[in-house]
């Protein structure tokens, strides 16, 4: 589904990613782990299309297309979704309105008829239940006055409504208590399917107890130093990251 080849990227002239190679297929769940400042968030931001990053070398191919040539909204229409590490508050833009506009823009792009208000509301109500999000949140401004946990749940709720094919979860677990983590993980597991790939960027192994990954990658110093199955996450939890670095250097 997505193939990242020898990706180099910098911010303000400082090299952050130094040759990432990663291939993700439909139906797979990948976890990208690594210490702070390793480039994890940079990678998810570049895939989603945020300004401010310069790709100096390499490519990202998504469903056979040059992903880097697409605008963020085009990527969304093609099925890319980023659950933000720090979801922004947008007072005055209604949560449901945003999603309806997003869903219909995507449908238009796909040559499908736009959903009417009633059909849309049905979908929204159903998905809100999935992440145990109170109905009152639907009519509020996007993330306006939401607690940290509510914001993360809202991200997963939006993901459920937009039904992406490639879902990137950028530290979705950080700052969540156990109950919220369970709800969020539940929402993500519900979305797992043969057509969909999920990439979780995380700092902690804890999330992987709830969402079992097929592959775990260690990202450090701008490179993927090691890849393995879910047992790698446990090993990282126990031993930290230094041994991976040493092993890579050897």
């Amino acid at each position: 589904m997505i193939k990242i080849e020898n990706l180099h990227a910098s911010v303000d002239g400082k090299a952050i990613l130094k040759g990432i190679n990663l291939e993700i297929n439909a139906g797979e769940v990948h976890a990208i782990m690594g210490p702070n400042g390793s480039g994890k968030s940079t990678l998810s931001n570049i895939i989603a299309g945020r300004d401010g990053y310069t790709v100096t070398k390499g490519s990202i191919t998504y469903k056979g297309k040059d992903l880097l040539a697409l605008s963020p909204e085009e990527r969304s229409w093609e099925g890319v979704f980023l659950a933000f590490q720090y979801p922004v508050e947008i007072p005055g833009v209604n949560n449901t309105y945003l999603l309806k506009a997003g869903v219909n823009a995507k449908r238009k792009h796909q040559g499908l008829q736009e959903l009417d208000a009633m059909d849309f509301l049905k979908i929204v109500r159903e998905k809100a239940k999935l992440v145990e999000l109170d109905q009152s949140f639907l009519s509020r401004g996007v993330n306006e006055g939401f607690s940290g946990g509510e914001k993360k749940r809202n991200e997963i709720f939006q993901m459920a409504v937009l039904e992406p094919t490639l879902a990137l979860l950028d530290e979705t677990d950080s700052g969540l208590d156990i109950d919220a983590l369970r709800i969020v993980a539940n929402g993500v597991n519900h979305l797992r399917s043969e057509e969909r790939a999920v990439v979780m960027v995380t700092h902690y192994q804890r999330l992987l107890d709830y969402i079992k990954p097929d592959f775990v990658h260690v990202l450090a110093d701008g490179k993927i130093l090691k890849s393995g199955g879910k047992e790698l996450a446990l090993e990282l939890e126990e031993r930290g990251y230094d041994w991976v670095r040493e092993e890579a250097a050897a």
Binding site: G49, S71, P72, I90, V93, Y97, L99
Partner: protein, 416 residues
């Protein structure tokens, strides 16, 4: 010597002859050049236009459940108006004719009032009509009072007075509208006096026609525990200048000024506000926002004076501005004068473009760049309109504001 209508008129006329219109050399008028008015209108701006000149379209707010006072080219139209019975309403024109001694108070001219100028002097000298509203003690008007000023170009000098009895309550909507292609001038002064524990929610909607100039003044004085809210929206006219002067005279008075400018083309919009905290334990809140496109120019000057003895004053002022075009300009100046300890005063100004993080967030949800910008612009403006309690007015202004924003498409969805 008691004042007569004639002595007031004469004093004001002399004051105007001496001062003339303010010029940009005057600090309070630094950014607003009124010479355009005399260039456009010549001597005509002294001459009040007849009522029926020009064709008047129906410009009233749809679905507004209210008592209505219609003024056409500055003249009261009794037939088209519906007055409430529980309060007393007369007009300046009828007072001048039948009981001039009563007109004295309404037309009063005070040369040394804050932000006084030749414009106010001209108004006192020339005002021909306007509503004089008295709300008796303990009366709460059951529906809003809608004062619609429609003009077809030409000149009107209006004087409106609202006197609120103790524990009384009113919602007033002043709406200045026009749909014509003539040059013109509206010069409107509204004085509101709030007695003990009275409350007034005041909407002032400036939606004049494109070539009309609009000069306005709102004077408010507040007694103990009274509460006043202004929703001032500036959408129309080529040049609009409004002065808001608010005196909090007794403890416990509360005031809230909300302002929104949405300007495009070469529109020029200027609000000077002044709040005098003259007594302890008064609260003032001021929130002004501007969305400026094209070559439009906005001016905001918000002065807050905390007088001696006004302890426990609680005052907060914000002014946020969104420039949609590189040629749009805002001049903003908060001014605080505090003569006293033990007060809480906050103020903040921002000038900027749309938030990049918010834009990116919307785009990752599939919203196109253009639509995302519209959403954020509208949301920025709507935060001020959301403070309106009357939903018919709010919706009406939202639609009018949205229609002015560039490349607007789906409004109804945003409002849902």
């Amino acid at each position: 010597m008691s004042l007569t209508l004639k002595t007031i008129r004469d004093t004001a006329a002399r004051a105007f002859e001496t001062q003339g219109l303010p010029t940009t050399r005057d600090e309070d008028w630094k950014y607003t050049d009124l010479s355009r008015i005399s260039t456009l209108l010549g001597d005509q701006w002294w001459q009040v236009t007849e009522k029926n000149e020009g064709v008047i379209a129906d410009l009233s707010i749809p679905e507004l459940d209210a008592y209505t006072l219609l003024f056409v080219n500055g003249h009261f139209d009794a037939e088209a108006s519906e007055l409430p019975e529980s309060i007393t309403i007369s007009t300046l024109a009828s007072m001048i004719q039948d009981e001039p001694e009563k007109a004295v108070e309404l037309i009063a001219y005070q040369a040394d009032a804050p932000l006084s100028s030749g414009v106010v002097a001209a108004n006192s000298a020339l005002a021909t009509d306007g509503a004089c509203i008295c709300v008796p003690d303990h009366v709460k008007l059951d529906r809003p009072l809608y004062i619609l000023h429609v003009n077809s170009g030409g000149t009107s000098h209006l004087r409106t007075g609202i006197s609120m009895g103790k524990h009384s309550e009113i919602k007033v909507i002043e709406h200045f509208a026009g749909d014509h292609n003539e040059s013109g001038l509206t010069n409107s002064v509204t004085a509101i006096r709030l007695n003990e524990n009275s409350s007034c929610e005041h909407y002032r909607l400036q939606m004049e026609a494109a070539k009309q100039c609009h000069l306005g003044r709102v004077e408010i004085s507040q007694k103990r525990d009274s509460s006043y809210t202004l929703h001032a929206t500036e959408l129309g006219s080529m040049l609009s200048r409004v002065d808001v002067v608010n005196r909090l005279q007794e403890p416990g008075a509360c005031t809230e000024l909300n302002g929104l400018f949405v300007a495009s083309g070469r529109q020029h919009i200027d609000h000077h506000t002044r709040i005098d905290h003259s007594a302890p334990h008064c609260v003032s809140r001021e929130n002004y926002r501007a969305v400026l496109d094209g070559r439009s120019h906005g001016v905001f000057n918000g002065k807050i004076v905390v007088g001696k003895g006004a302890i426990k004053t609680d005052s907060a002022q914000t002014n946020a501005n969104l420039l949609l075009s590189p040629n749009a300009e805002i001049d903003t100046k908060p001014e605080l004068e505090i003569f006293n300890d033990d007060v809480k005063c906050a103020h903040g100004v921002t000038v900027g473009q749309l938030d990049k993080n918010q834009l990116f967030y919307l785009k990752t949800r599939g919203i196109s760049d253009e639509e995302a910008k519209q959403m954020l612009t509208f949301a920025f403006a709507d935060e001020i309109l959301a403070k309106m309690n009357n939903q018919s007015v709010r919706r009406y202004i939202e639609r009018a504001a949205f229609a002015k924003l560039p490349n607007t498409t789906d409004l109804e969805g945003m409002l849902a």
